[in-house]
């Protein structure tokens, strides 16, 4: 079977790779790994799907880089391969046999709800540190919108970031006034997060809530805040890697982190293909869902009433498992 990842420049996908390798060994399947060169690189993924078909693989596990791979995935299924998506639900979901993924919107919602509760009625001056600003990536949009929904702010568009009303009233927690100061791209990296936060702070020094797409972006944002001498700014993010859960989250510098389980996605995916290949049936979807949710949990060193969370120590036991 083949595992086709988005990139290998992100420890999240590297974790997925080792999870799949370990599970493939258990169920005695040969695993070939391929990955895009950058986020959004569909061409390399399409070639990898082609390779899998001509190799006569039993199945493909893929974290699709975009809709452009869908036609190729259909070709693979027509050729008799089982196709399972991990981490990212394709559009439409029926492109693949089944998807194992984090509900990114739900993950965003958790940190939004947390932020709203902890504000306790105060005015929210919000910086949004997104992944990109020059391409629409589903994870980027789902997390951004999830956060706004969790705060009780209408995202204003189903498919695009930055379309919400810039000022208004949030309804999460006790509710209160809000102002969205900026949407800045970070490319999910530390320097990207730092530059983005610096620009946002120059635009408005009163920022007290920072949404970040992932942990490296949060890391960069915290450095910019520290350089500017800003204290008590609430930075929330989504990832749940062992490294950050055991450092910035534990220290309370990242106020809340929604954890996800890439290792679990990978091992469930490998098991499903092994089962399908030996004549079993497709795992059934929960009612009303178009993918199998591998779960998220909120971890924070400062829990608030009204939002269920676990301590960083608990989260560290299953980080990225």
């Amino acid at each position: 079977m083949s595992l086709i990842l988005k990139t290998l420049s992100n420890p999240y996908f590297v974790t997925m790779k080792s999870g799949a390798e370990a599970e493939a060994k258990k169920v005695d399947l040969d695993l070939t790994v391929a990955a895009g060169k950058t986020d959004g690189d569909t061409q390399t993924q399409i070639s990898a799907i082609d390779d899998a078909i001509s190799r006569g693989d039993k199945g493909i596990l893929i974290t699709p880089n975009g809709d452009a791979v869908n036609t190729e995935l259909k070709k693979a299924r027509d050729a008799g391969l089982f196709v399972i998506a991990l981490d990212t639900v394709p559009n439409p979901p029926s492109t693949v046999d089944v998807t194992y993924a984090t509900d990114n919107e739900q993950a965003g919602k958790l940190i939004g709800q947390y932020a709203a509760e902890r504000l306790d009625g105060q005015k929210a001056v919000i910086a949004m540190l997104d992944d990109f600003n020059d391409q629409v990536v589903s994870v980027d949009v789902q997390r951004d919108h999830g956060f706004l929904e969790g705060m009780g702010i209408d995202p204003g568009s189903p498919t695009q970031n930055g379309k919400e009303q810039k000022t208004g009233h949030y309804t999460g927690g006790k509710g209160g006034d809000y102002q969205v100061v900026c949407h800045q791209p970070t490319a999910g990296s530390i320097p990207g997060g730092k530059t983005a936060m610096e620009n946002c702070l120059s635009a408005n020094g009163d920022i007290n809530v920072v949404y970040t797409i992932n942990e490296p972006a949060a890391d960069g944002a915290l450095q910019a805040l520290a350089d500017a001498g800003k204290q008590g700014v609430m930075v929330v993010t989504i990832d749940g890697s062992c490294k950050y859960v055991n450092s910035l989250v534990k220290d309370g510098k990242i106020a809340a982190d929604a954890v996800q389980y890439p290792g679990k996605m990978a091992s469930l995916g490998v098991q499903a293909i092994a089962k399908l290949a030996s004549g079993g049936s497709t795992p059934s979807l929960p009612a009303g869902q178009d993918f199998i949710n591998t779960g998220t949990a909120l971890t924070t060193a400062q829990p608030v009433d009204g939002v269920k969370s676990e301590t960083p120590a608990t989260a560290a036991q299953s980080c990225w498992g």
């Binding site: 600003n133 791209p185 730092k194 946002c200 635009a203 890391d219 350089d227």
Partner: protein, 304 residues
């Protein structure tokens, strides 16, 4: 220069926060890494070459520095020297392929871009590395207050690189040989310049500069991130081109690249402050880059 001043005035009028010393300091800090890289890129472009792998070399070098300290437990100064060595060897490899095997620089560095990026990913496994502040490696991130301005050691280091390279290019025989070789290799060779040696020296000096850029990057983010240099290759070329250095070699000045790097950063920051829709922000930077070069060309044609 005119474009830079005009852009600052426009953004300053549009938003009074832009002209605040803290914001201007931040622009300098944001420009430090690409600004430093652009020094090395200028040297290579002056030889009629181009280096598509500068960002990859810098990121590889920064990861080696940070990882040797955080995982290897080596003293910062040793890690720093090893990181410099990695950058110089990488650039030397580019230079050798260009001079000894006579491959076009574009092709060579297109290839090594992939090689260095892959080496980085294999070495780092995608992980970011955090350092505790206070060591040799993070010294470049130290804050230096001058009046209301907050410069960092990295910013000063970048400015020093410009001063040094401007002096070397203008006042030394090496600089004159570099211009001559870039302008017309054959003529330079006939004039008795050992052109291959000059070319190779440009790559090696550039490599050392990339090592310094890596040091500035580590100081800026208190660690290393394999995803840090994604756009740095093109950004450095953009800065050099806006700065008026000819892509055909032999013509231009290193100081122009500093202005080029600052123009890009000023546009990025100014538009972000103006709260422009992010999608249009990218579009606007592209348009303004072309406008800047066109304006520069026009001024030259009027002058001459």
């Amino acid at each position: 220069m005119l474009v830079l001043v005009l852009a600052c005035l426009v953004f300053g009028f549009a938003n009074s926060r832009f002209i605040q010393p803290t914001n201007l300091s931040i622009i300098l800090q944001q420009a430090a890494v690409v600004g430093a890289l652009a020094v090395g890129q200028t040297l290579i472009i002056l030889t009629a070459g181009i280096d598509l792998s500068v960002g990859a070399i810098m990121v590889l070098s920064s990861l080696v520095m940070a990882k040797l300290v955080s995982d290897g437990g080596l003293p910062g100064i040793v890690a720093l020297l090893v990181g410099f060595a990695v950058a110089v060897v990488a650039a030397l490899l580019n230079g050798l392929l260009v001079t000894k095997i006579n491959l076009p620089p574009f092709i060579v560095t297109l290839g090594t871009l992939s090689i260095f990026t892959a080496a980085t990913l294999i070495y780092a496994q995608g992980m970011t590395i955090s350092l505790t502040p206070g060591g040799v490696l993070t010294w470049t991130g130290r804050d230096i207050s001058l009046g209301g301005f907050h410069l960092t050691v990295g910013v000063l280091m970048m400015l020093a690189l410009y001063a040094l390279s401007a002096y070397a290019l203008r006042q030394t025989a090496w600089g004159k040989h570099l211009y001559a070789t870039g302008d017309d290799v054959e003529a330079a060779r006939l004039a008795g310049i050992r052109t291959n040696r000059v070319l190779l020296s440009a790559y090696v000096v550039a490599g050392a500069v990339f090592g310094i850029a890596a040091w500035i990057l580590v100081g800026r983010i208190n660690g290393a991130d394999p995803n840090a240099g994604l756009n740095a290759n093109l950004e450095s070329i953009t800065a050099v081109v806006i700065g008026g250095t000819s892509l055909f070699g032999g013509r231009g000045a290193v100081v122009g690249s500093l202005i080029g790097a600052l123009i890009v950063q000023v546009f990025d920051n100014g538009l972000a402050l103006a709260g422009m829709d992010p999608n249009y922000q990218v579009l606007a930077v592209g348009l303004l880059v072309i406008a800047a070069v066109a304006a520069d060309q026009w001024i030259r044609s009027v002058k001459s």
